[in-house]
């Protein structure tokens, strides 16, 4: 997802950045409420929040900050986080990483050495946390990436976590969905110049074959500049698969879908989370994209009560539906708060140990357990485009 989200966010954010200026919002320290009966007030705990608040990723930054602010407001109203009989005021320090690696390392340094945060939420991009992760690791501060789906992220060290699923899981989730939907044969067209696309394809094939399905045709193309997929699609058509897996960039998918339909391929498509972009349906044409399913981190239509509560709170506060960025930032923050509650000692080390053994935490996108490699074990939502080009929630897929 790393590449896809970056591309999408870059694109979205430039437009926003041009019309409106920086969305930077100063952090407001939570004022401790008057003490309730029998409660002790602990020292103020600081949590850093790193996101692109200006520059090409500003839209993502806005969603991330909004997701965290929802928790901040709630904590402020309650007077802090209750751990045992002690209420700890929580202060969030928001920092702008401009979606750049070098700025991320700078703000990580500032948060750790100057603000003395106990944990960091974000950033949202794999490349940024890969650059700054070693700083948190050597200082012994927990960092929870939000949308950092690249496998290498948590391999930086035992203080680095993430709130999202990893790329290989997406491929498996897509395979599981396709199999459960009753498809027995699948074809794949993927971009062999893109690690995201290739990774999803390999895991899809592995999982689909394991389940008993058969991948009847695999076609590749070399890079995003290619616009003609007729040759590959002709071969896929000849193989006559029941479903076609297209784990590609949102700029490539529309043309692939269009050309496939024009060639007479009627099989439904399944894609990865890169398809979660409003442009896809419009560019592909609603009649072509209808019935196309994709893996997503979260759907606001998820009927789960915890999800619905979050969606409602987000809507009440900001007048819009949360996207994956918002929900992942929200969940990363809750993971940290839960770890503070469970920690043997409330310090950086204690929080790390508590987070590493986090289990069955019920969050909007599903129940989450932190695995041995610090990758969360969590479900994915399958969404499907309807005839009006609007993605609708289909089902949750659990690992």
């Amino acid at each position: 997802m790393k590449k896809a989200s970056q591309l999408l966010l870059t694109i979205l954010a430039i437009a926003v950045f041009l019309s409106a200026c920086s969305t930077g919002s100063p952090a407001t320290p939570a004022e401790p409420e008057p003490q309730a009966d029998g409660e002790k007030t602990g020292e103020t705990l600081k949590i850093g929040v790193v996101s692109p608040m200006s520059g090409p990723g500003a839209t993502a930054g806005k969603y991330i900050t909004n997701g965290v602010k929802l928790i901040e407001e709630k904590l402020k109203a309650e007077g802090g986080l209750l751990v045992g009989d002690t209420r700890y005021p929580i202060e969030f320090v928001y920092e702008d990483n401009e979606a750049k690696e070098e700025t991320t390392t700078n703000v990580y340094q500032k948060l750790i050495n100057q603000d003395k945060v106990i944990a960091i939420v974000g950033p949202d991009m794999s490349k940024a946390i890969l650059a700054a992760g070693p700083i948190a690791q050597s200082a012994g501060v927990v960092a929870v990436g939000t949308f950092t789906t690249n496998e290498a992220v948590t391999q930086v060290g035992d203080y680095i976590f993430r709130a999202c699923f990893i790329d290989p899981f997406q491929g498996r989730a897509a395979a599981k969905y396709a199999w459960d939907a009753g498809y027995k044969t699948a074809a794949v067209i993927y971009n062999n110049a893109d690690a995201y696309s290739k990774g999803l394809y390999e895991n899809f094939e592995l999982a689909f074959t394991e389940l008993g399905g058969k991948v009847v045709e695999v076609q590749a193309y070399s890079g995003s500049d290619i616009k003609d997929y007729n040759v590959q699609l002709t071969k896929i058509k000849a193989a006559n698969p029941e479903v076609v897996f297209i784990p590609n960039m949102f700029t490539e998918i529309p043309l692939q879908v269009r050309q496939a339909r024009e060639l007479g391929i009627t099989a439904p498509f399944v894609g990865g989370d890169s398809m979660d972009a409003p442009e896809v349906a419009q560019l592909a044409g609603f009649e072509n994209i209808a019935g196309t399913a994709y893996v997503s981190a979260f759907s606001p239509d998820n009927p789960d009560p915890v999800a619905q509560e979050f969606v409602k709170a987000f809507n009440d506060a900001y007048g819009m539906n949360p996207n994956s960025n918002a929900v992942l930032a929200y969940e990363a923050t809750l993971m940290i708060l839960e770890s503070i509650k469970n920690a043997a000692t409330i310090d950086r080390k204690g929080i790390r140990d508590a987070m590493a053994s986090l289990k069955d935490l019920h969050l909007p996108s599903g129940t989450i357990t932190v695995g041995p490699d610090r990758n969360p074990i969590k479900g994915a939502a399958i969404l499907m485009y309807n005839a009006e080009g609007v993605p609708e929630f289909v089902v949750n897929v659990n690992p």
Binding site: I11, A15, N192, Y221, D228, V231, K235, T251, L283
Partner: protein, 301 residues
């Protein structure tokens, strides 16, 4: 056999886009002696302006008549042609007597400007947008080979444009002047040819052709964004070199060869297809270093 013809159709379709674009490279190179790396971006301007023109026309009537489609294409071509003239006047003309490297680097700069300036405009932006359907889409099935009306119209129009260009260059006074400037700029000047006008005309025609190839390209691959010209420009430049840069027939031939070999190579192995397309280029250049129809000229120092 059916597959062969089907692939051939795809190859010709892709090749005609390369060919139209390669014409602009080759004309500018032949006449001014510079490589206009911003040429691919004229394609983008043509396609993008067509999107806006179509919106403007559709608002008044609802649907597009044949006349309106022709008007849209002509306006887009003339508009892009004028952009070409302006680019030449602003960026290349002051450098005409400087070393070639200067103009080459400037062309790269112009290309970046043409991509990033529209991107920065709020009403254009970097997002890809759908391209309207200008030509009707009817699928014909001839002995198992599918061909669409869009492909046919495109092919006919691009061949028509190439024939017109060939006629203009070889049979008209303007063409004679262009060929004269191409042969010897100073002698042409002495013969009373207005070099500035000829060079402007060259850029106008080249950019207009690029614009038409943009419209055709976006008609088959209906998705337009500000960066679309970059890679296509490179491919067409390769096509121009392949055919022998400076030669108009060479550009057409090179475009079709590149398009067809790319499609067939992809069919043989989709993983290696792209690479095989370039191997064809290298092989041709190994045996004919000046391109298929190119003539070697000795550089005067």
């Amino acid at each position: 056999m059916t597959t062969f013809f089907q692939l051939l159709i795809y190859g010709i379709q892709l090749g005609s886009v390369y060919a139209l674009l390669a014409l602009g490279y080759t004309m500018v190179y032949g006449i001014v002696g510079m490589i206009n790396f911003a040429h691919g971006d004229f394609l983008m301007i043509g396609a993008l302006s067509t999107v806006f023109l179509t919106t403007a026309f559709t608002n008044t009537t609802g649907t597009l008549s044949v006349l309106q489609v022709i008007a849209i294409i002509l306006i887009a071509m003339i508009g892009t042609g004028l952009v070409g003239v302006i680019v030449e006047a602003v960026a290349y003309k002051p450098l005409r007597d400087r070393p070639r490297m200067t103009a080459l680097i400037t062309a790269v700069g112009v290309s970046m400007f043409l991509q990033n300036f529209p991107r920065a405009l709020p009403f254009i932006g970097p997002n890809p947008r759908p391209f309207p359907r200008l030509f009707p889409l009817i699928q014909y099935n001839i002995g198992g080979v599918t061909i669409t009306s869009t492909q046919l119209i495109m092919l006919v129009l691009s061949l028509l444009l190439m024939i017109i260009l060939y006629y203009v260059v070889n049979k008209t006074p303007l063409g004679a002047q262009m060929r004269a400037v191409s042969m010897d700029k100073d002698a042409a000047l002495l013969m009373g040819i207005n070099i500035n006008i000829i060079i402007s005309m060259t850029f106008f025609i080249g950019a207009a052709l690029a614009s038409s190839s943009g419209i055709f390209y976006a008609s088959i691959y209906p998705q337009v964004d500000v960066y679309m010209g970059g890679w296509l420009g490179t491919k067409s430049f390769i096509a121009a070199v392949l055919g022998g840069i400076g030669d108009i027939r060479g550009a057409m031939l090179g475009g079709f060869i590149l398009g067809i070999s790319e499609i067939f190579a992809t069919s043989i192995n989709s993983n290696l297809g792209y690479m095989i397309g370039f191997i064809v280029l290298i092989l041709i250049l190994l045996f004919k270093p000046a391109g298929l129809l190119g003539k070697f000229s000795i550089e005067k120092v």
